[in-house]
């Protein structure tokens, strides 16, 4: 059952149980159990290794159905912060996701220009996978109408828009196994062991919340088989929980100017047209109102605007079946070279 639908299914339980578990019920005094923690950590070490050995090959099967939405494949993506669009600085916010396409077709420049200012690219590029990544992608898959409520199209496996492979069963298992490792040293050891299997050294970690590590580790496990490129030499986890895989590539150069960036009005117009020709218009016309957030991306040899556009559209309440007209945010990718100017 779809997660949120399963969550809805809980609504109809006996009110006795709802009241019994009410947040204002008395708090039970208790104690922490060091023994349990140590046991759990030991168990987690064993289970993660076992799960990794069994599941990673399964995750890398090639016979799983690919995601047919969104239409744009996001391989080889370089992100530039929204500050760039506002005329700010670039800093070190670039990263490359699903680097296989990037490696196959690396950019051919060693700097790029935004708003008249040139920025160098050193291409000691990082691959970031964070909890935000995975949760955002899960949202994205659910948010695609025609897919979200029909999980048969994703029986056990989901691809995200940038090729990230998610298998809900494994996601679940990995989460539980890693949750048991509340001790930071144990988590580090788990990651180190997982990385060592693929010849990648683990340089260190900072204290981060366990959930972040859990999801990061799961994503890492899902992707690790695709990172067996000799140019990936080191992995580091930063305080935000991002695992950075450093790779050694030559300097390149990219170029874009402010004039190349489409205006918000052009983005809104394109988004409205696209929405009205998609499943978003299933229950009535969609009105795109404004760009809520945008950033510049580079992928597959060209720049794109990754825009979150606020729209009004008619949708249906999953619980009551009633339709209503409400605002929501839809993500679009607008090619810079086709900016509507």
């Amino acid at each position: 059952m779809k997660g949120k639908t399963a969550f809805n299914a809980m609504e109809g339980i006996d009110p006795r149980y709802i009241l019994e578990a009410a947040p204002d019920a008395p708090v039970v005094a208790g104690r922490k159990t060091k023994f349990l923690r140590l046991t759990a950590v030991a168990a987690a070490l064993a289970v993660v290794v076992a799960v990794g050995a069994v599941m990673v090959p399964m995750l890398l099967r090639e016979d799983v159905p690919p995601l047919t939405e969104p239409p744009l494949h996001m391989n080889g993506m370089i992100e530039v912060s929204a500050d760039v669009l506002a005329g700010g600085t670039v800093d070190d916010v670039m990263n490359v996701r699903n680097q296989q396409s990037f490696l196959d077709n690396p950019p051919v420049h060693d700097s790029f220009t935004v708003n008249g200012q040139s920025y160098p690219l050193t291409y000691e590029y990082s691959v970031y996978y964070t909890v935000d990544d995975i949760m955002g992608h899960l949202y994205r898959v659910e948010g695609i109408e025609g897919f979200g409520e029909n999980e048969e199209q994703f029986p056990y496996v989901m691809y995200t828009d940038d090729g990230l492979l998610l298998r809900t069963g494994y996601f679940y298992l990995g989460q539980i196994d890693m949750t048991q490792a509340t001790d930071q040293d144990a988590i580090a050891r788990l990651l180190e062991e997982a990385l060592a299997v693929y010849g990648v050294s683990f340089d260190g970690y900072e204290t981060v919340d366990v959930q972040t590590i859990i999801h990061t580790a799961v994503i890492w496990s899902n992707q690790i088989g695709e990172l067996k490129d000799p140019r990936f030499t080191r992995a580091v986890m930063d305080p935000e929980g991002r695992i950075t895989v450093l790779m050694d590539l030559p300097r390149v150069e990219l170029t874009i100017t402010e004039d190349d960036i489409p205006t918000d009005a052009a983005i809104v117009a394109m988004a409205e047209e696209m929405a009205n020709n998609s499943a978003h218009a299933e229950h009535g016309p969609v009105d795109a109102l404004y760009v809520e957030e945008k950033r510049l991306l580079y992928r597959d040899g060209q720049f794109w605007i990754d825009a979150y556009v606020f729209v009004n559209k008619t949708t249906v309440d999953t619980l009551t079946g009633k339709s209503y007209y409400a605002g929501t945010v839809i993500r679009y990718f607008v090619p810079v070279e086709d900016n509507g100017k």
Binding site: G3, A9, Y17, A21, L138, T182, L319
Partner: protein, 180 residues
């Protein structure tokens, strides 16, 4: 004021009913909405909607437990509002809860009508602590850390207990012929 008194005010179309409801259950509703939405402002707006919803639904509804009735409405409206919110505002913990439940509850076409009864039967067979943890996690959307504080356990122990309970639920449903 008793629940019966408040319900009578609703039936009398006396707006004091909303004030009394807010006084008695406002904090409770806010806790439910906040845990689901992860935002104080969203929770406040949602709870305001709850009062309006209660005003419009009582009468004709005459709940036997006003507290449970309001809790269900708060949860339902919070989840609706949550699904309308944008990606950046998404509550990671709630998404995790979705994922966890997804692995142990069958598809709706296979169990739509009898699922509440099955869940009740399953919950009835649990130890008090396990049932309270399960409902707090998957009905109230409380985070493991919060559950740990409430139950006097480690986060570790909470997640292990929830894990075992989900496995029990999956097995319970599978034994009744449901494929997950």
């Amino acid at each position: 004021m008793t629940d019966s008194d408040i319900i009578r005010l609703f039936f009398d179309r006396d707006e004091q009913a909303i004030r009394e409801t807010r006084t008695k259950y406002g904090k409770y509703c806010m806790t439910i909405a906040r845990d689901i939405l992860g935002s104080e402002q969203d929770a406040e707006e949602c709870v305001s909607d709850v009062y309006l919803k209660v005003w419009n639904s009582i009468p004709p509804d005459e709940p036997s437990s006003l507290k449970a009735y309001i809790a269900v409405l708060t949860r339902r409206l919070s989840i609706n509002r949550y699904h309308e919110s944008r990606a950046a505002k998404r509550n990671r913990e709630l998404e995790v809860a979705f994922e966890e439940l997804e692995a142990c509850i069958p598809a709706p076409e296979e169990a739509a009508s009898e699922l509440p009864e099955l869940l009740d039967e399953f919950l009835a067979g649990l130890k008090d602590t396990d049932r309270r943890l399960f409902v707090r996690r998957y009905w109230y959307a409380m985070m493991p850390a919060e559950l740990a504080g409430r139950e006097g356990m480690t986060v570790n122990a909470v997640t292990v207990k929830l894990y075992k309970t989900r496995n029990k639920l999956r097995k319970f449903l599978e034994e009744r012929g449901y494929k997950l």
